[in-house]
Symmetry: C2
Subunit: 534 residues, 2 copies
Amino acid sequence: MPHPQYEFANGTVNSCRRFHSIPSLQRAPCGPRTNVETYEGQRSANQPREVQKRTFGSAATHIQRNPAYSELNSDDVSYFRSILGDGVVEDEDRIAVANVDWMGKYKGASQLLLLPKSTIEVSKILSYCNTRRLAVVPQGGNTGLVGGSVPVYDEVIVSLAGMDKIISFDKVNGILTCEAGCVLENLSTFVENEGFIMPLDLGAKGSCHIGGNISTNAGGLRFIRYGSLHGNVLGLEVVLADGTILDMLTTLRKDNTGYDLKHLFIGSEGSLGVVTKISVLTPAKLPSTNVAFLSCNDYTSCQKLLLAARRNLGEILSAFEFMDHHCIDLAMRHLEGVQNPLPASQYKFYVLIETTGSDESYDKTKLESFLLRSMEDGLVADGVIAQDISQASNFWRIREGISEASVKVGAVYKYDLSIPVEKLYDIVEKMRCRLGDNAEVLGYGHLGDGNLHLNILSSKYDDNTLAQIEPFVYEWTSAQRGSISAEHGLGLMKAEKIHYSKSPEAVQLMASIKKLMDPNSILNPYKVLPQSVL
Amino acid sequence: MPHPQYEFANGTVNSCRRFHSIPSLQRAPCGPRTNVETYEGQRSANQPREVQKRTFGSAATHIQRNPAYSELNSDDVSYFRSILGDGVVEDEDRIAVANVDWMGKYKGASQLLLLPKSTIEVSKILSYCNTRRLAVVPQGGNTGLVGGSVPVYDEVIVSLAGMDKIISFDKVNGILTCEAGCVLENLSTFVENEGFIMPLDLGAKGSCHIGGNISTNAGGLRFIRYGSLHGNVLGLEVVLADGTILDMLTTLRKDNTGYDLKHLFIGSEGSLGVVTKISVLTPAKLPSTNVAFLSCNDYTSCQKLLLAARRNLGEILSAFEFMDHHCIDLAMRHLEGVQNPLPASQYKFYVLIETTGSDESYDKTKLESFLLRSMEDGLVADGVIAQDISQASNFWRIREGISEASVKVGAVYKYDLSIPVEKLYDIVEKMRCRLGDNAEVLGYGHLGDGNLHLNILSSKYDDNTLAQIEPFVYEWTSAQRGSISAEHGLGLMKAEKIHYSKSPEAVQLMASIKKLMDPNSILNPYKVLPQSVL
């Protein structure tokens, strides 16, 4: 799907502007294993899996259903029907879709899907479930990558898909207020027509909900320019576990009256409350966007290029994405209609740079001179600048399509790590050495934010491969003081792994807050926090 | 004091570039009083004030000392001396300074000032105070405006002034890690020498501590460009009420592992924990800064100018500050060595626009052509662009000196409001009508953020004047769905007024969190939250 924001003064399709090339491609030698390169013993294949079928996220197979939760009965369904009418879904096929994540990796066994149309309905649902001790999984676009948005057992699924209205847009200040079930791409289209852009953009934008974005504190492609949702979300309306409606839906840029509670719900993955409405600051849409697709001969050059881009492109830099050549090869094999703008597989690394500013010719000149200087300095081996929106879309399609292409291989083990930039690619090479020919290892991501996406592709999910990956990947990341989840959240996959990135004192305080706000633990159980602390 | 960040290619002192002028100055007629223009009866002058002498912040005179707190004894002092040595201050003069805020408006009666040198020492102090039920007021630079940083009664003052070390600076990513007692201006100077700037700047920068900035979620002059501390602070180390050290001192840009607890401490005014260390993202220092000082004939023009600046200056706009002519008159009367760049008192409104970018000549041309177009459109009456750092400093000195000049008149009632931009100046005119000749009313602030500073100057503090101002100012702001504290916090002054900006459900949840995290309520008592909910 084309990236919708590009506007170029020159609408004609020219060939991309090319720079000279210095091809070089060598595989890094595998170094010796370090102390942290240990791994857990293989999980028993005979262990009962109960409801889950393919839960290869860490430890998911070890979790037992919490017997404190009630089981759904016909009276419950009748009650829900009395408040929601046809918003109660018992159709098996529709429920089946909501029970599984888009990768087909996490699968629950819910028997009920609820589609509230208003905050009041969400409040009534939660109030009832809290009293009845019925566990609930809030669901947005179900595009998550860590099993956070699907049931683990028989939790009632509360989908926000029916709450997809734009409530207001302040054209003076660029402040959008909308319901949580709005699809990100629809919001993007809406605000762009008003001369603004959403402060976040991600590959799943065609399906993901803004409520889900907020609940997972989604990062994405514009983070380097516009920062995190903690900075851009102005207000939230949230329904708490007991049905209390918490109105924090301010549209003010500044408000220092008491504790800023909305931040508790940004990134807590629906475990503290269900986000129902949002107000968010949208930056002005600037008229000039340029996209370059470059290659580098080594990772050190990518790092130096990032530093140079920060210094020289300054206020117009809006994306700095990197991919290794394995990603490019995969995208070319599996994505329809995508072309490599540079000679295939000649380089080890590729970088996509986007600039966004208010002056077409000035910005383009600035980007071109930056790239020429980077080539003279030996940082860039080859490169092209998109000459029209079609070329720009093709560049972005490669970067954004990696996740989609990964799934087509069969099984994909996905990791989303924050690592100091200078060490960020080490884990990719280490993982390649560990896995050998058993898997294909891809490294790509938001280099400007120190965020690596590590995808490990295999023909099928199996415990042997998993044992080669985990806990090594977490131990190594922890040893670098990195984060085992930069932007995907913990979900079911990494709830028990939180200690790799957070101190015991911090986890204990999180658990205390969870118990305070959801004493019956009905909201998104088994996720985010380890069972042992709850 | 000069604004330190200005660099101009042309170092010579030229006269400012002038635009033609269209003078106009009329006082707005006072409209009829609206429904919300009620006010409380005058407070009794006979009411016992106990420790406070001039606590004209709302309701401060009504609060009784909480008898649950112990009174300090010699054993306590001996214990503190055993862990802090000469960090225990009993000298009356030094304690007197720490007992009163810089405006001389709030005054406590603490008998002990503690100056820890490390996080461990802070932890030992709090652990002891928590066990002994000794109330504590954490103190930074004591530059707050709402009585948040001084004792109300005999709380032990824990000053962070002794913890002022820079711990590390990551020159690649611009990440500063430091102790909480570092003075903001010192940090600014340090990072500017490394090619970066602090993401916040405010008038009190020469005294305020970064820990205090974070605890009050300070906004300031760069908010329009770099956003809030919730977006810029990467990590914190905090000591909880029971002495637990909470290490959240990550330097990662992205980390979605569990609840992002640091946001609880940003803006909670030391009532949930004492911030001891900080890591913060510092933006790259861009080489070109330009400052313009403009006049507008009416408030509508100021608003239109803001819109035009957002559209046309786009990514280089770094400040948009406005002042009414009363502010300018005051600054000229009370600030030494300050000159009005424009003919004195001819205009009703003044605007300071700053741009920061990476290209000196391009940025200057852009600003000049924007200003010429704005004059042609009738938005700007007169204007100058600073030709050197001295002129730029003079422009900023006017804006930043208003607060300092206000205090010189005698008494100043300060309000810090977020109000939708289109109605922002209404409250200034309404207040002028209410107060007549009894007081001088100034309106200025960060127009780009919808943040008005309303200063009401009088020869002395008195209950009659206060009753004319409050609760009207809060009721009116609440009716506009504004915030009664945009950036100053609630402190003692507005703790009991939180309901004007927050729902009962939100206040209740704040109280629950306070009770969870500080069950003995030893941290900064009587502030932030109403006593009735604790």
